[in-house]
């Protein structure tokens, strides 16, 4: 129930005077207290920073790992899509044939360059024997094994050295 006709209550005059005097008093705060408060505030802020959740700390590393994984996947896809050539397929036409042996022979003759991957007979030397091994692979019958290339010591290297140089059976032999 409101009683609008009644006057507002008044505070005692002495109380009003004391409160006004309180506002006018200078409050002294020692510098040590300021410094301590400042130090406490800094420590609190530092704790707040280090108290971030672990996933937030790991977030950049996870992003980097994801990027690397994506790059690796792309590289794997690229390699899988790119044609794979046999080591013997020197001209990269998808077939190991006499043209590869011919290419290797020309490289060896011109000295255009040597690649250890061309040591097809595994003797540690790139020479005519590797050409013969490559040619032997080219003429291998579907269910046959690579022909062994014989190399006679001291024998001059011929164009068709190796298996084709071997004496072939004659009708007289067969009869």
């Amino acid at each position: 129930m409101n009683r609008p006709n009644q006057p507002e209550p008044q505070a005692p005059a002495r109380l009003i005077e004391d409160l006004r005097a309180l506002d006018r008093r200078a409050l002294f705060v020692p510098p040590a207290v300021d410094e301590r408060l400042l130090a406490e505030a800094r420590r609190h802020l530092a704790e707040g920073r280090s108290a971030a959740p672990p996933w937030r700390v790991l977030q950049p590393k996870l992003a980097l790992a994801a990027c690397l994984a994506a790059l690796g996947l792309l590289a794997a896809l690229f390699v899988a899509r790119s044609p794979q050539f046999a080591r013997e397929d020197l001209n990269r036409d998808g077939t190991v044939d006499i043209r590869d042996a011919f290419a290797l022979a020309r490289i060896l003759e011109t000295g255009a360059g040597h690649d250890r991957a061309w040591d097809f007979n595994g003797d540690g030397v790139m020479d005519r024997g590797d050409v013969d091994t490559l040619a032997a692979q080219a003429v291998r019958l579907p269910n046959g094994k690579p022909a062994k290339v014989k190399e006679a010591a001291g024998e001059p290297k011929h164009r068709n050295a190796g298996l084709a140089k071997d004496r072939t059976p004659t009708p007289e032999d067969a009869s």
């Binding site: 001209n91 036409d93 077939t95 044939d97 006499i98 043209r99 042996a101 011919f102 290419a103 022979a105 020309r106 003759e109 013969d132 040619a135 032997a136 080219a138 003429v139 291998r140 019958l141 046959g144 094994k145 022909a147 011929h158 164009r159 068709n160 190796g162 298996l163 084709a164 140089k165 071997d166 072939t168 059976p169 004659t170 009708p171 032999d173 067969a174 009869s175």
Partner: protein, 151 residues
Amino acid sequence: MSRHFFYLLAGLCLAAAALDQREADRAEETRFRPVDVFVDSGEQPLAAYQLHFQATAGDVKIVGIEGGEHPAFAEPPYYDPKAIQREQVILAAFNALPVDQLPTGKTRVATLHVRIAGETAPQFEVKAQTAASADGERLAVTVACEERKTE
């Protein structure tokens, strides 16, 4: 008893004679023939070739392989030794001689010696697998084979 034994002996002799004659006939049916293999590279010098030869009819066995007529391919070509006594072979050869020393046109690159048995006429098939010019580039060629006529 002795008469039966005589008939039995005579029968055995006749059978043996018949078998012997059959073997003789079979031996006469077996013959050896050379088959020439040709490569035609047109106007381009032939530096390398690879072809597949196969007997498609008849009882044919390869018994020998020798080189061709041109000096560049006079040596026996590369082949799988397992092809001997079989009916098919892959032949290949190359030569890195200068262009003016390589054959052009149709040239005999190899000769195969085959043993033919039986009365079935043999048929041969040869297919070019690849060929190259002096610079190693792929070359279009035609190949053929032909049984050499012998007296």
